[in-house]
Assembly symmetry: C2
Homo-oligomer: 194 residues x 2
């Protein structure tokens, strides 16, 4: 139980990669590491529809409809494992727990769309760094693409870029690296802004 038995059917997806597409078939997955963005196919392209953290189950609707309702994208490098590989049914207690999680999650995601640009971005990053893969605590968090941050917080990419630079400059966020390899320190996310 302690060690991973060969990581049988686990999948790894790079930052920005697609995990599955809406309308296709496949199993439900449990997120082991990373953050997942769920999108709904709207009349005007994809539209942000939810986030999943390590521990969350994504694509549970396939058990009901046989197809994925959303498109899943990796915000950061992700590892996922099949959920309910056999033909076992989830217990009512499990499902109730997932429902309660989904409802609490809704409140958190909603809060990523109110307040100033700085507050939204800080909240999103703090949210992503809240739950890391069990055991090892990530000291630094790889930033998602600005495009993704913008979609989630309902800001423009330009504003996201400027705001992160600004937060870093005023010391409210410790930023390392530039461009695609940028990271922020988890510690600076936990303390409230000055």
């Amino acid at each position: 139980m302690k060690d991973d038995p060969g990581a049988s059917a686990n999948r790894c997806i790079a930052r920005g990669g697609e995990i599955y597409a809406a309308g296709t078939e496949g199993p439900a997955w449990r997120v082991v590491a990373g953050t997942v963005r769920l999108d709904e196919a709207g009349p005007e392209g994809r539209q942000f529809a939810g986030l999943a953290l390590p521990g969350d189950v994504i694509g549970a609707e396939t058990l009901l409809f046989g197809r994925y309702s959303f498109t899943a994208l990796a915000l950061s490098a992700c590892e996922i494992e099949p959920w309910l590989a056999g033909h076992e049914q989830p217990s009512g207690e499990t499902l109730l727990g997932m429902l309660a999680t989904a409802e609490r999650r809704m409140a958190q995601i909603l809060s990523l769309r109110s307040g100033t640009a700085g507050e939204r971005i800080r909240r999103l990053l703090a949210f992503m760094s809240a739950r890391v893969a069990d055991g090892r605590r990530a000291v630094r968090l790889a930033l998602p693409r600005l495009r993704d941050i913008a979609d989630i917080t309902d800001l423009s990419v330009e504003t996201v870029s400027r705001t992160i630079t600004h937060l870093g400059a005023e010391g409210s966020l410790e930023v390392y690296g530039r461009y695609r390899t940028r990271q922020v320190s988890a510690a600076s996310l936990r303390r409230p802004k000055p």
Copy 2:
């Protein structure tokens, strides 16, 4: 089955009234008519956390935790009935369906926080009028309090007031009455804005 058998333990709540408070005990409910706003107790007062329409179940988390996680308020006059009055357990299929609904709902609520003020308000009202009590189709929709519309769409009350007046003036929304008794025609909500 066709007629309501005395409406045993059903409750009715007026617009703006509280259905239950977070932290208290009680059963889960099924919304029969009206729209419900769910709030989470945040560090800075209540914070909008979700919406429930006729057919939705609210407070299902009591089956797991024994207490309500959210505070429920009636946006419009509401009727609710106890869900699972006896000690019966919901089936896995039912719970999976509720989970899928919650996830789809999340996408819709998120869309109430993007776009212009006019688009957000139109979307919210269309959303509320989408599902009415089975059978009779409401021709007109009673408006929620502006304060509630503002919280849900992340706008200010002043902007909501101005925008509704404006939408009415340009014919994009048919508005009847003023002040607390204001209503909009459901038909004008369904057709896209000119």
